[in-house]
Subunit: 338 residues, 2 copies
DNA sequence: CATTTGTCTTGAATCGATTCATTCAAGAAC
DNA sequence: GTTCTTGAATGAATCGATTCAAGACAAATG
């Protein structure tokens, strides 16, 4: 029965009657070792239950096999999907992904970046919350590059993968108009969030082009509860003053609206149509399936990780690039009369 | 402008004109260092942008500051909440949590356990998927203890934190009966999942006690789509043969039922009441808020992490314990006529 | 003044795997 | 028979922070 702290590489070497170098080769370059020594070493590893010490490995070799990923909210399905995509790519490169949650808290964000630096991760995928671009720049100089996720890099100092929120906002309102809306509304906020700002701008532009007004209901955040509040507020409006369609800045808000309308006896989409943004799983799983603007979530994570590895592997002359996906409308019952 | 691979501890020592031991003390036992040397060292650290190399630290000290957590599905909000609870406790202990996703795949599960061993994590929180108990036992002998999460340890070899699914199932059916159901049904499967088995058993017992039959609709998995299928199937039954209430083995199924019923013109709860299990956020955010059996998700993660640290810190004589939470009913509109 | 006590400092040894210059063996070429 | 070439194997040096026995120094004690 094995016990105690595990065997080390020298023990394996001793048992297999080879040098430590050979054991290391079996681990890292097995094809450079003759068949019989290789089998002897593998047998010894098996017998001793040897597990290589990653700390020692990366200390000596100077490189870890891990990426750090810092998201705004692990509880948000959008980010877990993005993380999944990134993880798949990391796995292909035999790296592991350390997922951390800044929880929209600048202190935690800094703390996790500290951690990533200490762990000497090979690179960082991040949806920044606080003012971290400078710091990320310094980290790059020290050999830890990063890619911005779900954010367009405003400088050409970084790679980034994002979604064209302006186009998404326009698509949403165009769709509402095309299904007959003449009094559409936008629900969302705060406008300090770039994405809210962009989605609204796209929506406003599209409304202007279509020659319809766009009512604005600003919210302090993007949570479900706000959607319900705004919904209740709309329910109390005169039917002829009430919007006949709503574009919600994200699906959480849209679900809140939907619940409120159901409770207040407003029919969706007959009395009021709704389109959300993100197309989270629950959008399609709502009682009245929710139309939404869909982002290629896993793909975002995959591309981001690919760009990161590109920069990591580039000996020199890596060109930063900005990948911008165009989100797509998924029309469902909340905007389509059956 | 700093650049290149960062400064190391000896550089700091040289710049601050102290020994490496003193720098190490500033980092780890700052109160044992005199004021002026401490400030000199801190200034040097600042100036050089020194970041301690975690690999070297843990190689020498023999201990990492991290836990591994292996869940069945990061996309499931249940697990992210549990992880959040665990992370909070880990943070209190100045440890970081490495979150990994076995995705209900035995191969990935093993691979991540390999990784955790190589990284020499201090302990593992795991919701096992494959046959890993033996391996976990071996890992404990080598100094890496583990706690089972959302699983009752069948032996006293492990600590575990779980939920009393039998009680939960009973509560669900008792509630349905109390709101007037005389033809309740259970939807869920496969019964190879312990939790499905337990929830059904509790439900069946409660039904028997109440003197009502319990119809069974078995599903091959617990996904939304299955719920919708079963819902469509129920919708086609004669009204007098159709269940008047459903207990779904989880919320995803319940949401599927809800959508199907809405599409087929069945009123919830008037024609058919629904209660789910897990009380995920989206249960309360559905158009018709879903009654559900609620598990203290974050608390599960917290307790699990606490038990793990207890075992890690125990020099000797740690007593394994099984924590079992009793889940609670959260009654909402899907079972309560307004 | 000598001695003891306690507080800071010091720096060589150490953790365990990888690296790489060097050695070795065996077959090929001359 | 000698020299080259090639592929395998070797093992001492190394990565960077921590440890801890030993030393330095100042203050307190007798």
């Amino acid at each position: 029965m094995p016990s105690g702290p595990g065997a080390k590489l020298t023990d394996v070497a001793a048992l297999a009657r080879v040098s430590v170098g050979t054991v290391s080769n079996v681990l890292n370059r097995p094809d450079q070792v003759s068949f019989d020594k290789r089998t002897r070493v593998l047998a010894a590893i098996e017998e001793l239950g040897f597990v290589r010490n990653e700390s020692a490995r990366s200390l000596r070799s100077g490189s870890t096999r891990s990426l750090g990923m810092l998201v705004l909210d692990v509880r948000n399905p959008f980010f877990t999907d993005v993380a999944l995509g990134a993880e798949n790519v990391a796995e292909e490169h035999k790296h592991s992904l350390i997922l951390a949650n800044s929880a929209e808290n600048a202190g935690r964000e800094q703390a996790y970046l500290d951690l990533f630096e200490q762990q000497r991760v090979q690179g960082v995928l991040i949806t920044p919350f606080g003012q971290v671009l400078q710091r990320l720049g310094r980290m790059r100089e020290r050999g830890i590059p990063s890619v911005l996720v779900d954010r367009l890099a405003s400088t050409d100092q970084f790679c980034s993968v994002s979604v064209d929120d302006v186009a998404g906002g326009a698509t949403a309102v165009e769709h509402l108009v095309s299904v007959g809306s003449v009094r559409p509304a936008f629900v969302g906020g705060p406008f300090t969030l770039q994405q809210v700002e962009d989605r609204y701008r796209g929506a406003a532009d599209a409304a202007a082009r279509a020659g319809v007004p766009l009512q604005l209901f600003e919210t302090p955040d993007l949570k479900f509860e706000r959607g319900r509040q705004i919904g209740d507020l709309m329910g109390n409006l005169q039917p002829d003053k009430r919007p006949d369609a709503v574009f919600a800045a994200n699906d959480q808000l849209a679900l809140g609206l939907l619940q409120s309308f159901a409770a207040n006896g407003l029919r969706v989409p007959e009395d009021i149509a709704i389109v959300g943004f993100d197309d989270i799983d629950f959008a399609s799983q709502s009682s009245i399936p929710l139309s939404s603007i869909s982002q290629p979530r896993q793909l975002i994570g995959e591309r981001a990780a690919q760009l990161l590895f590109d920069e990591i592997d580039a000996e020199t002359g890596h060109e930063h690039s900005q990948v911008v996906f165009t989100p797509e409308l998924v029309a469902r019952q909340s905007t389509l009369r059956r």
